[in-house]
Structure formats: structure tokens, C-alpha cells
Symmetry: D2
Subunit: 386 residues, 4 copies
């Protein structure tokens, strides 16, 4: 298996998610970080490069230089793909430039600040044929993949109702009377973060999770956003009614002010044959329920999981009973993303299992979701197409 | 302690909730069922009277005869209160007649079919000074009372967000192509059940639970009702956005088509200091969470519960670690309801602890909730005052 | 259904378990407390009689007078059975006298102080044909009955390993430097409590639970008892290795010093086809597991429970999803005990379902267990037949 | 931070635990696998080397050649440490040779087949000053480290009782009538696995976990081993009574025939101030209980964890609410092991936090435990010093 070369933009000293990206790619050993523009501060940039073994010549002072520099290298040496772990507002220009320069791209979410940018990237991916991954982490968990496959097989029947919550309490400990520190600025300054805070940061994960697992698109929604502790105009909480194509309905709740919650992403799906429950904080199980039958708890990496979900099996490392976590979820996306790159670069057609990672279309869906949520809320709560 | 005499209307052979009422009053021993009009069928009526030891002379053929007959007895012999366990449409006329005849009343929910009826009862209770209890069972659980008291004391801080779910899957096993049997007719024939099915049957419990625990009134709401398996026009599922007086917001989800759920009433409350989680199916614990502190699990009947909640302590029978359940929840309402009757009948003022049971004002709130939900939904989803 | 008349010895003002007995019999309405010797203190005795409506003429100053007094009444008036809720050392003399006087008996555990007494009662029950119930509460829970029936049907296969824990922490808050109060004296003064404390108080429940659920007798055991906080010679903790007839093995752990535990009775059973897990503090579920199959959670009062366990179905009041608790467990034993009395008194043969309550043979087993535990421990830990 | 060079013996194609070792070292990026003797089959050995990027010149045909070959390299090129993932019987000779050749060693458990061998390695480590790690994985979990630190700080008080279970059901699906496949041969052929199967495979983990967390040594034990499905003489289940230095007592249960269990390692510890509960299958929480206080659930990576446990904080990657798992547990041992190597190689004294990984003394303890268990059982169950 060919080791792929990764260049990273963002994710430097002090960054949370960039570190997870690096841990995730290292875990399975098929990727090497060869280049980076981690921090704008040269000293920090050098420090990170040194820490992870990037040659000084491959450390760049700007993302523009990174793309130019890597492009100028011989094919065998240059990065195969670029991972974008910057603040939100840079996702679009970096991704655009990277795709245009012929690189595959792994991008953090939300994909862009606007729907127009997202659709432009969608076109660009189609035109360039480059592989584009979007880090909607939670679809990387094996039991989420199982849920997706159980629904796709028809075992759950026709989905009629969905409840998804993404509850965090982190804003409860923030002091909004002080200027934002860098990391929070990314999430809360509209110039960096886009037109939404809570919905753009975590609501969009919940929306993606629901669409991924059910295989259904949200057709319209009605939102009520709040700013309980955040400055006016910046949502830190929201509740959204959902209507899906085909008639299913649902509720999405996202909050940064849910006191006492850590990373409470929870999903309930009710079909006409089965109901499913999954919770991110105990991710190795999926509860499967039918009316008047004992509730079932499916556990990761069992033969009975493998039988119905190849993608869940592919996404499992240690045997049943030995839990996996968040980093492994990231790693699973990278595994499929990289296998797809290898196939594409070899001129082969990736298998469906390889293609089981979020991509540019999901990114467009995310921006349409954010747009619709903000518009619905601004109109005082009306049904708004997505 | 004076044993109170209870007359029962409805709750005969084959009825679910009437049996629970009788078990609940027997449990604590302060009530005796002395009269009844249990079933309209005379043979069944006699059978029930015999089974529970009601003298044949106190078995009545109609509720009108029951009220007349009991009224004609000397004060020492006649029923102290009338428990109404009939289909919904009879709650109002029976309650009205009972109050007018001077009886205290314990009534099943929803209190009436219409808001006008509810308000009429509210006036009548004020005018007659009779004690009126409404069986919103779930407020009878000790850990729900604790949640109420923690919020009332300010321990949770200002409540900002509420998520309440009441998920049942029972309609999944019903055959709607067949004529409804008697019990289901009550819940699904608008002539018996009122203008809503799911919201009137269980949504109203969730709404009451939220208002009771938070001490906040729902100011306005926005609803999306569905008929997934029930006949058109009859809601079997709904999602409701909530806005409370003072600025808190919330979501209420109620469903009869939530495949695999039994009696999934779950409550999450987020204040600016603490968050609370309670689940009816494991009711003896309350989770109390604060940001960056270990999550706490409070357990029924402990000294630390008693210290902050007299009403929770009053509502506990066996010591900590020995679970209580649903019947005990009913019984707790009866305990307070009966203590209040004893105080009122003795010319005393009931203590606040005695008054901790749902009453006629909650009944009016319930009808206003149902009205608003139906109206909001009919209008295609607009914010509607409650 | 004939209402049975109950006389009670012990369980007076301030007693914990006597109150539960009364709540349990009231719950289902088939029993009336007609006589009692509740407290030795006359004022307290009168207070209790008044509180629960026992006629003054049926309040007795001693248990001897109660038996004599009730015996002298006409058959239609006198008590049908005597419930014994005294300190342990009185179980035997009261039960003996009651049986000899022709009363049926419901007795608290442990049945007697010595094995010889227990065997004498066993003979007496056989000779008199009276119905004898022993309040091993936990066998009254519906999901314990289900576990028993699943094993009896062979669904679990041959049982090979059992782990049962009964962990309480209550001794952690006791001040052993002070003289014991009355209630603790019962449990800790060998003259009242017998030769063991922890094992006699709770270990014997665990032993009964295991034998009831598996249907297997403990053949021999090896014990290690401790006195961590209790006075020397009084066990407050113990671990016991178990060997069952037919080759199964097990471990029994009981402790009064398990800090933070409330009433932590937990059972795991491993057969060659299935494994079962039940926990008293969340008693409405039973987990059923097989190798390489999703774990199942069976929930009380479902049709699928009824199909395999009539005794579990009989022991359920409200429908699935509406939890039952500890008092209901007591009540279930009384239901079967009373049905058996009715059958025996009518000259009929009780059905197997009626006979599903612990009795005098279980009481003998309990004393043999206690004897063996104490003997094994005293010998420094050797295998000792039960 | 200097990248360390690792050579691996065993863990080749088809091996479970070798793969985990490699994932674990890759995760944090401080280690490079430079040499290996993975499989004895040359083709498989080459295949593995190729897959993970080991240069053909560093692939060896035997562990003896690996040690000789690496020793012959210049210091800057040769492996810093050797990871031993072979069948049990090879741990000793490989570790011995590696230490004598000056390599640091990371070894799978049980460390050796006999206590004499273990003690010889202990001497050798002392003599050579080499760093020796032993892969008792479960001590690598952050919440286990927290439990250790809470006890070490005195927060739990004097430990008096411990219950540890390690329940697996895997033997239920094995066909013992067939010759053992390679992987099972390692665990079940006494020539490879030593004198015990279940106790040597998983019981020794439980024993280590208990000694690590409590900081107490098991002084003596009494064992009852069984062969329910495995060939006679090969334990597949056992229960062990424990006595610790200082007076604490405990129970250890290990089983390979616990139908329906996956990797059910569960620990309960009761001190005179607090009780702790930890379960491997949901490892990111630790329950902390005190009598008459709400139960606390401590969650990984919170500030309140960091405040009391530096070692737990060091062992956490993503923030609270983002679960970690089994591979991360391995990785945590490697992190500390490698930091210790770096310190030792630099002539520095490792900090206590660095030294928080199992080592050669734990290996000796393990063999003493296995010896005592087998001896106690063979003697029919007598207290045996460890």
C-alpha cells in the first residue's frame, strides 16, 4: 500500500483539531506529513515542523507559498493531498487553490462561509476530478456506519421520525466580556466563522449525521436560534424542526450553553420496523429496538455487525469489547479518503466502501443547512427550503 | 388520620388507569373506595364492585345517579371525593356536577375537551372551594419533585433551555384498518378524545412536567403535528418549539409511533449554573451536572435529598436503594390531595407541601397547550401564544 | 376473591420492614390487617393500631396473647395468617406457636437463629399443612422470575458460573462506639441476630436469589468473613466461593461496608447458551446475552416476557415502560402466598404459579448457608458442605 | 523530542496484539519501527516488513539474528528498544537476550512462564539499567490512572474491599475437538502458555490492575479453578479470594466461559471514605461514591481530573466528551516508556509521571500470582502466600 504524502494548512501549536488530524493519520500508518504551513508565526511554525519531523524546506510561511512550493516539486516528492485545518474563512480559498493546483483535499467543516463558495467547490471537484474529504467526524464511527447500513438495507423500515441533539456546555465557562482568544475568535467572529456560531460549529455536524444515517435529505426546516450568553447576533443555541424528502420529520437541537454537557451528540431514529439510538459519548454500541421485542445492543466489531455492514467492519481495529474512540473516527475517514486517492491516482474506480466518507456534496448540504437555519430564524420562524 | 371515602366514576373492568388509581390509594391506606359507577354494563359494574368490596347499594348505573345518591347520604357516610377515570369527554360534565354537589374531585387528564370547559371548572373550583386534583402522574415521582425544588431554590440558576421527549411506540402494533376497540376509541375518536390524539394523550403530560419542574409558563409555541399511521387528522406524533416567560426556550417531542419506545418520558433542563436530566423509565435517580465538575447522580430517599426537598422526602416510602415506581407516583399525588382535603374540611390552611399536586390551574394550562398546538399546526407552523 | 385477615407480630412504630409488609398487602387489596402486636410499648402499640385501623380488642400485649386471642375467635373472625416482622430471635418461637395453633405464617428472614430450629419448622409445616411464606423479597421481582423461568426452560443452557454481589455501605455511617439503637441491636446483637451479621442480614438473600434463579442447590462453600468496622466477631463483610450440585461454581460477595453502595444486589449467571444480568436498583430489566449475538434487554410486562414466564406476568401491574419497585416485589410474594392459602383452605391444590414464593425449605437452606459460612470461616477457609 | 527506534519480535501477519502495538506507537508519533522478526515464515515476514516500511536489511529470520544484527549496527542506527509480542514461552529468552545486549525492552504479559525466569529478568534489569515495560494495557487508561491517584492521595481512605472481574465468553464459540489453531495454541498449550490458561491470559491483568490501582500487594490468595469447556487441566475459569497487605480483602473472578461477555474487566474498590467503580468497556468514566452523598461520575480530560492526577492528564489526547479507547491505553504506556528511555539514555532521572507504566516488578508479581493461584487450586483450595 502506497504511503500518501500530506501537507497541512493550519493545525499548528495550540490548535486542537489539527493535532487530532495528525494522530488520526499516524494511527493507521498510510500517511506521512511532509509539508506544512501550521502557524503564521514563524517560530511556532518551525516548532511544529520540528516536532513532527517536517523538513525545514517544506515549511511554508503562507498557504499560498505552500501550494506553490509543493506544486513545483517533482510528482514523486510533492504532497498528494492537503489537509485544511484553518479557521473557517480560509477553508474556501485554500481548498480552491489546492484543487486548482491538482491536489486532493481533506477539509475541516463547515466547508466554506457561504453557499455560493460551497457550490463553487462542488463544481471544481467535479471539474478537476480531485478527491475531496470533509471532516464530519461522527460519520466515521463504526456504529454510525452500522446504523446507516441497517437503514440502507431496509431493516429499520421507512424512517418517519428523527431526534438529534448536539449539546455542549462549553460557553458556560467563557467570559464574553473579555476579547476573544484566537481559538474562540475562529468560532465567534463572523468574519472568520460565518453567519452562525452554534449551528455552524456543531449544528452542521448534527445535520450531516442525520442525512448520512438516514440517507434522506432535509427538505425544509424551521429554526429558532438564541443568544443566551454570546453577544447578540451570535447564536449559541438553537432548535430546528426538520422535514425530510419522502415525509419523515424530525427535530435538531444544538447548544453551546447546555450546562454540564461535554460533547453530547445523540441520535434517535424511528422507522416503521425498528428504532435506533446512538450516543457519541459511548460510541461503541448501537441500540436497536422493535416494538414488543427485547431491546438489542449491538456492539462494535462483532461478526453480526460485519455480516450487515462491511463499512462498519472496515472501520474497526481491535476486537469486540476493546473500545475505540474519537481519534479512530477521524482515522476511519482518512482510511477511506486515502484508499480513494490511491484508486483515483491509479486510474481505478474506488469501491463503494472506499467512498464512505463525507465529501464536497456534504459540504454544500451543510452550507444550505446553515443558510436555511439563519434565514428561517431571521424571518421569525418560517418553514424554509434547504 | 381520617380515612377518606372515595367514589369512582369509570375505571371499570378492563380499564388500565382506574386500576392504578385504586392501587395507588390502597398503597398508603388513607382512602377507602365506598362507591362507584365503574362500567356502564351492569354486570361488569357489579363484578367490579364485588371485586373491590363496594356495597351493592353504592354501585350506581350512571354518574348522575352516583352524584345524586352520594349527595343524599348523611355527611358521615357519603363519599369525600370523586375520582374521574372516564373517557376524556366525560371529565368535564362529571367534574362540574361533582363540584357543584360539593364533592372534592380527582380527575384524569386532559381535564376537559375544550379550554372553555377548563376555565369554567377553574371558576367553579374557586367558587366552591373544593379540592381539585389532576392526575399528571409524573409530577408525583420523588426525583421530579427534587428537580422542581432544586430549581425553585435557585441551585440550577436561570433556566435557559429545556428538552422534553415523550416517546411511545404503541401505535406501531395497532391495526388502524379495523374499528377501534373501546380503549382506543377513547383516545382516538375526537368526540371522546378532543381535537388531538398524541398531544392530548401524552404531549400534555410533557408540557405539564416542564412547567412544573421549571416553574415557568410556556408563553408561546410552534408545532408540527403528523399522522404517520393514524387516520388523517389525528396526530400520532408532533414536535413543538417552546418559548417560556422570561426568555427560556425549549423543545417538546411527543410520539406514539416511536418504534421500540415504551414510556419514554425524558427531561433535560439547562440552567446557567446546573443541568438536570430525568428519565421516567429509571425514575429513582436525577442527574445533576455543572460545567467542569463531576456529574452527580442523586438517588431517591437519601438525606441529601431530604435536606433540599421536603416534598421529595414526603414522597418516598422505602429507604434509598429500594426502588419505587409508577404506582407510587400516583399514590404521592393522592397523599397530598387527601391531606389537603383533610385540612380544608377541618377549616385549616393546607401547607405548601400538601399542595404539591397538580390541580385545576394545570388543567387549564393543559387545554391552552393543546389549543395552541393544534392552532399553530393548522396554520402551517406559526408562533402561537398559549 | 376472599379477603384474607392478617395479624402482625412486630413491625410497629419506627420499624422499617413492617411498614413495607403493610404497604405490600394493601397494594393489591386482598388482605386486611385485623390484629396485631406491633410494639411492646403499649402506647406505641395503640398508636400503630389506631393508625392502621386495627380494633383495640385485637391489639395484643404479647405475641403469646395474640395467638391465644386470635385462636379463641370464631373461624370467620380470626386471622387467617400471622406475619412475623420481629427481630430474628423471635421468628422461631412465634412461627412455631402460630403453626401449632393452625395459622398460616409469613415470616421475615432469616427464618430462625439455628439450623435445628429451621428444620423443626420445616417438619411442623409438613405436619400441619399450613402455608408458610418467607420474605426473600428479591425473588418477588418480575424480572427475577423471568430469569428463573428462562433457566428452567433451558434457554440459558447448563449454568456453569454465577457471580452474586450484595453490597451495602450503611455501616460506614454508624458509630460503633455508641450503644446500638434498637433497630441495629436486632441485626448486631448475636442474641437477637444469630451467629452472623452481614451474612445473616443480606448474604442469605443473595444465596436464596442464586438458588431460586438457577434452580441449583449450593453444595459446598468456602468463606472469608471480615469485621472492618463492626465489633470483632461480627461479620460486616464476606466473600464466599460456591460450588453447586451438578458442577456449577460461583462467588457470593456481601458487604455492609461497601462505601457508596445503597442496596447493590447484582446477579450474573453464565450458562452454556446464554448469560443473564440483573440488578436490583434498576429491577425492571433483565439483560440476556449470547456469544456473538446482540445483547438483549428484556423489559417487564412485555408480551415476549409473558410468553415464556407466566409467573413474571402475574407479578406485573402497570404496562411495560411504567416501572415497578421494591414494594411491588413484596406484594408479589403476598399475592401468591394468599392465593395458596385460599386454595389450601378450600381444599384445592395450589397451582405451580401460586406456589412461586419462598417458603420453609428456603428458610432451612438459608440457615444451612449461614452455618456453613460461619463454620468455613472459623476453620480458616475450608470447603464446607451446605 | 527524539524519535525512538523500535524493533519488534513477533506480532506478524495474523497476530492481534502486535498490530495494536504498532498502532499505539504510531498514534503519538515518537517511535519508528525500524526492524523486525515478525513471522517465522519468511514470506509473511517480508510481507509485514513491506507493509509497515521496514527495510529488508532489517528484517530478520530469527529473534537471535535480530538481536545480533541490531547490536552490530552503529548506535545511531540501531534499535533503541525491542518490543516482544511472541507467544508466552519466548518472552523470557528474547527479553533476556535483549537486555544483555543492551536494549530496552517492552514485553507482552505474562512476562515469563515461571517465577524463576521472572526474577531472573528482574535482576537483569537492575544490573543492566535498561528500561523494561510490561504491557498490562489496562493501567494505561486515563481513568484507571485517576483511580490510582485518588487512592494514593488518600481521597478514598483506607481500602478495605476490592472486587475485580475479568469476564470473557470467547471459549463458548471454540471447538475444542479440533486441533488448536496457532493463536489459540499460544494460549492453551502449556508448553507455550505456561501452567495456566485463563489466569495467565486475563486473570493476571486483573491482579495487576488491582495492585496498581490500590497500591497494595496481594499477600495471599485462595483459588478455585475450573475447566468447563477447555481440556482437563487447562483452566478456563477461576474465582480467587484475595488478602492484601494491611488487611484489605477482595475477590478476583476471571473467566473465558462467561457467555455473552466480550472484554468485561470491571473493578470496584471500597475504601473507608469513598468507593470507586471502573469498567473497561466504557472506560472514559470513573464513578466515585461516598456514603450519603450523590454519586459522582468523573469524566476523562476535565480540569478537575487534571487537578488531582497529572498522570491521567498526560494520558489524555482529545478534550472531554471525545472518547478514547483501547489503543490509546497502549499508547499511554508507550509514551511513558519512551520518555523514560529518553531520560535514561540522556543520563537524566525520569520523573515519577514518566515512570507510570508497568515494568519488570509487575511481571514478577504476575508470575507469583499465577504460581500461587495454581498451587492453591491444586491443594484443593488453601490460603497461599503470593
Amino acid at each position: 500500500m502506497k504511503k500518501l504524502k500530506m501537507a497541512m494548512v493550519g493545525g499548528g501549536v495550540g490548535a486542537f483539531v489539527g493535532k487530532i488530524h495528525r494522530e488520526a493519520v499516524r494511527l493507521d500508518g498510510g500517511v506521512e506529513v511532509v509539508a506544512g504551513m501550521f502557524n503564521r508565526d514563524p517560530a511556532q511554525n518551525a516548532q511544529m515542523g520540528d516536532a513532527i519531523g517536517v523538513a525545514p524546506g517544506r515549511l511554508y510561511a503562507s498557504w499560498q507559498e505552500l501550494i506553490a512550493g509543493e506544486s513545483s516539486l517533482p510528482a514523486a516528492a510533492r504532497a498528494d493531498f492537503i489537509a485544511i485545518c484553518t479557521p473557517n474563512h480560509l477553508h474556501y480559498p485554500v481548498a480552491k487553490a489546492a484543487l486548482e493546483a491538482g491536489f486532493h483535499v481533506m477539509c475541516e467543516k463547515p466547508m466554506t462561509l457561504t453557499r455560493a463558495e460551497a457550490e463553487e467547490l462542488e463544481d471544481l471537484v467535479a471539474r478537476t476530478g480531485r478527491v475531496f474529504g470533509l471532516m464530519h467526524t461522527y460519520a466515521g464511527y463504526p456504529m454510525v456506519k452500522l446504523a446507516h447500513d441497517l437503514i440502507a438495507r431496509g431493516d429499520v423500515g421507512k424512517v418517519c421520525k428523527v431526534v438529534v441533539e448536539y449539546a455542549q456546555g462549553s460557553f458556560r465557562k467563557m467570559d464574553f466580556s473579555q476579547p476573544l482568544d484566537k481559538r474562540n475568535k475562529w468560532k465567534m467572529d463572523p468574519a472568520c466563522a460565518g453567519k452562525s456560531c452554534c449551528m455552524s460549529d456543531i449544528g452542521v455536524h448534527a445535520a450531516h449525521l442525520v442525512e448520512y444515517v438516514t440517507g434522506l435529505k432535509i427538505e425544509s426546516l424551521l429554526a429558532d436560534l438564541s443568544s443566551f450568553v454570546a453577544p447578540k447576533g451570535l447564536d449559541d443555541d438553537g432548535s430546528v424542526l426538520l422535514r425530510f424528502e419522502g415525509g419523515a420529520k424530525g427535530v435538531l437541537v444544538a447548544s453551546k450553553v447546555a450546562t454540564g454537557e461535554e460533547n453530547g451528540l445523540r441520535l434517535r431514529i424511528y422507522g416503521d420496523r425498528k428504532g435506533l439510538v446512538w450516543k457519541q459519548e459511548n460510541p461503541n454500541i448501537l441500540r436497536v429496538r422493535a416494538q414488543r421485542e427485547p431491546e438489542q445492543t449491538w456492539k462494535r466489531a462483532n461478526p453480526y455487525v460485519r455480516e450487515v455492514s462491511e463499512s462498519s467492519a472496515r472501520a474497526s481495529r481491535p476486537p469486540a469489547g476493546h473500545p475505540e474512540g474519537y481519534i479512530e473516527g477521524f482515522a476511519n475517514h482518512y482510511l477511506n479518503f486515502c484508499d480513494t486517492i490511491r484508486a483515483v491516482d491509479a486510474g481505478d474506480t474506488p469501491t463503494p466502501a472506499m467512498l464512505d466518507f463525507p465529501g464536497v456534496h456534504d459540504g454544500v448540504r451543510g452550507l444550505r443547512f446553515i443558510d436555511a437555519v439563519v434565514a428561517s430564524n431571521a424571518a421569525g420562524g418560517i418553514w424554509t427550503p434547504v
